[in-house]
Amino acid sequence: MTVDKPSFHSSASDTHTAKPKEQKSWVPIVLIGIAIAYLALVQYIPAINVFIQAFSKGFGPFLSNLTRPAFLHAAWLTLLLAVISLPLNTIFGLCAAWAIARHKFPGRAVVLSIIDLPFSISPVVAGLMIVLLYGRNGWFGPWLQAHDIKIIFAFPGMVLATAFVSMPFVAREVIPVLEEFGKDQEEAARTLGAKDWQIFWRVTLPSIRWGLLYGLILTNARAMGEFGAVSVVSGNIADQTQSLPLFVEDAYKQYETEAAFSAAVLLALLAVVTLVLKEILERKTSIKDVE
């Protein structure tokens, strides 16, 4: 407890700070209790449950679940989805962040809201939009069929869906860092004769690296974990278009609860790693923002 962060704690020693008339020492304890109880009911107990269920029959069955071909294929697809959508969204995010943070123009708030749109659009609606564009009866459907390209119920559609839902993270995290950093150093570099590219690699990138990394981690977590949008466009065919989150749901529906939880543990570990890295990077960038 630091001095500049006073609280309702009533300790007899700090008489020099102002205190409410009716100081009640039990108030903080009750409030902390309620907060933790609520979090436990909603988050902690379910989270712990994932791990306990996965290992309920021991480590052997857990491992044998993880070596099933359907699981391995799903894990491989999930990895591929992240590997493809990550660079796409990074390039977009960096360009958008640079364009927005380095310019003051009318309608800037509108552009920021547009970039946030994929967050507020329901994943199912996102999937639906992709189906309406690339599906058999969609805009590009006839052309795609004529050229024998399959997007819906195939991997490319899953990539589109994944890239869509994880689109804003990099831009969102990098914009505030770029704004705070200012462009003095970039201009100094320019005056010294540096090219745009050199400025980006040597001046801008080092200064935004933690914010960028933070954005990348969130993009990755969302890309690997996306369910709704991918589920709409993939057709959910085992061994073909089933990513790990889809595998979890499918196994659960087939009453293979253990297989579902074994896969869920991996995704939960991904979440834990994400949270740990997020915490580390938050301290480095000192940004606390929603998503």
């Binding site: 909603v42 390039i91 994943p123 609606v125 309406l132 369910f227 709409v232 994400t274 997020k278």
Partner: protein
């Protein structure tokens, strides 16, 4: 100067519309990517919806089953967001103002629903809250069924929207000046009075912003809600699942119409959130 670099000082003095002719490549990539990924899909959806005659559009959008799903989706989401509004604010308050063991850990794990894939969330919530689950078995003797009912949908929505409220309120609470509270205490106000009359009013727009963000996420949520719900029409079928079912039956216009309703509502919410944020910021300037 043909190759325009975005950070040149001169550029700011030229009006935006005159620059359109020589757009920097960062803008081209941004606009290009947004066009392919966002604008064209949205336009495609609106055009698809516009092929329906207005009367038919209205009939699909307000059919009994659609209205029932809106009821389940929106009413449950509002309930979840408001409940989280109360408890999320409390959690933010506790995290900002008090010190207790494992506080850092609890602070970090508030973001768990952001990081945990939604199908995993749905799976574990359905298990924990099922009749023989850890929490569900305690509620079952009381006659409360959670999993595979509308209550279950509410639980999933509460899970998914909680961090939005906590993370929106927390920084604002952190920056709030403690002197005002102390002044209020010096003038003889009780803790309760201080909370209602001094702390809550400037915090209120922020809490509402958080609730709106949480609501918007809960309305669109699919992964966790579809697993914990039994997806029975008129009982716990949510709008995103109805879209999915329509698509599975190759009823594209049905899916599109309900999709448009959801999309319009998320656009309205986006506007509301921006407005609320502007409202919340007005307190800063004072």
């Amino acid at each position: 100067m043909t190759t325009v670099s975005p950070s040149l000082e001169v550029e700011r003095k030229i009006p935006f519309w005159k620059k359109l002719g020589r757009v920097p490549w960062t803008w081209r990539i941004t606009i290009g990517y947004l066009t392919v990924m966002l604008f064209i899909p949205i336009i495609a959806m609106f055009l698809k919806a516009s092929t329906e005659p207005p009367a038919r559009f209205w009939a699909i959008a307000t059919s009994d089953i659609a209205l029932a799903t809106y009821n389940v989706t929106f009413v449950t989401a509002i309930f979840a967001a408001l409940l989280n509004g109360v408890f999320g604010t409390l959690i933010a308050w506790v995290l900002v103002r008090y010190d207790f063991p494992l506080k850092r850990l609890i602070d970090a794990t508030v973001d768990l629903p952001f990081a945990l894939p939604t199908s995993v969330a749905g799976l574990t919530l359905a298990t924990v809250y099922s009749d023989n689950g850890w929490i569900g078995s305690l509620l079952a003797p009381l006659g409360i069924k959670v999993a595979f009912t509308r209550t279950g949908v509410a639980v999933a929505m509460i899970f998914i929207s909680l961090p939005f409220i906590v993370r929106t309120v927390q920084p604002v609470l952190q920056e709030m000046e403690h002197e005002i509270e102390e002044a209020s205490w010096c003038l003889g106000a009780s803790q309760w009075q201080t909370f209602w009359k001094v702390i809550l009013p400037p915090l209120f727009p922020t809490i509402l912003t958080g609730v709106a963000l949480g609501f918007s996420r809960a309305v669109g949520e699919y992964g966790s809600t579809v697993i914990i719900s039994s997806n029975t029409p008129y009982q716990d079928l949510i709008a995103p699942v109805l879209i999915f079912q329509r698509l599975e039956q190759y009823d594209y216009s049905g899916a599109t119409v309900i999709g448009i309703v959801l999309l319009l509502i998320s656009l309205v919410l986006l506007l509301a959130i921006n407005f609320l944020q502007a409202w919340a910021r007005r307190y800063d300037s004072r």
